[in-house]
Amino acid sequence: MRTKSERRIFLASVTAAVALGTAATASAMHIMEGYLPVSHCLIWGVICLPFLVLGLMSIRRTVSDHRKSLLLLAMSGAFIFVISSLKIPSVTGSCSHMTGTGLAAILFGPFAVSILGIIVLLFQAILLAHGGLTSLGANTFSMAIAGPIVSFLLYQLGKKLNLNRKVNVFIAAALGDLFTYCVTSIQLAVAYPSATGGVMASAVKFLGVFAPTQLPLAVIEGILTVIIIMGMESYAKPELKEIGFIGEGI
């Protein structure tokens, strides 16, 4: 599947990640700027590295092998841009926003999303003071890597189980969104273990803040992703076939 040089680059990035990861002795949605200890920032950044390399390769392959589907890739990226800029009021009385990464993960696989996601996170971190440059690694991991991988796996599972495609897309996108927040909670908990209960107690606390807010938004994200997919199904059949999203028979 992968060319030799690509495999070599990937291996190098993994080695670098492992080496750097062990060397650094460790002492939401988007994690705020300056809220993670320096060591955590570095570790999360290093963990992201192999995924970003895989992402670059995945996008390069899409560009060279499936030129036609480039438009869909751009649209999936734009979808993340739109969705993650909309702050929506939620039942808990606070606002939050969605990730929008499910669509690209379902269409192009989880790794391409890492690149699309980091673009959005950079935009928000630099211009909007939302998230942050120091917490970029941690945020990239939760929003652009962990969430999309869950979306992708759920979608593949649903496909195996012959789930209705719309239902499947909905579940994958919504749960991927929720999972992003779970990862964020754990990242914060690891950085701020509670004095009495340790990391777990702290994780439950953070989840308590994020989960009720995010639940309705995850539903919205699922629905919007389904709508976009429906639109693409009716107007972009050739491209969807090319990237293997729908079978030749349809």
């Binding site: 841009f81 606390k205 709508i227």
Partner: protein
Amino acid sequence: MKSNKTTVIVLLIIVLLIAIVPLFALKGAEFGGSDDAGSQMVAEITGTEYEPWFTPVLETMIGGELPGEVESLLFCLQTGIGVGIIAYGFGYLVARKKYKTTKA
């Protein structure tokens, strides 16, 4: 095709309801960001007000917090870029399908 359209409309209405109902149901709620709720939680767990060790680059450059209006401008910009690309894409795809039918 017709049923597809109905589904989309129903789905959009559900989305709007989920997004708007809390605004009316919880009158007087603050609707702050959940990111801020996160920082409050950090303060609660550590027991002290946490002092971020790094301020956002832009805030350092302009020497203060980003004005609310400018922030919404930038958020709009982000939405605008995204919507523009999606609309271009769908416009292209829809027109292609429309004018290709005669050949097939």
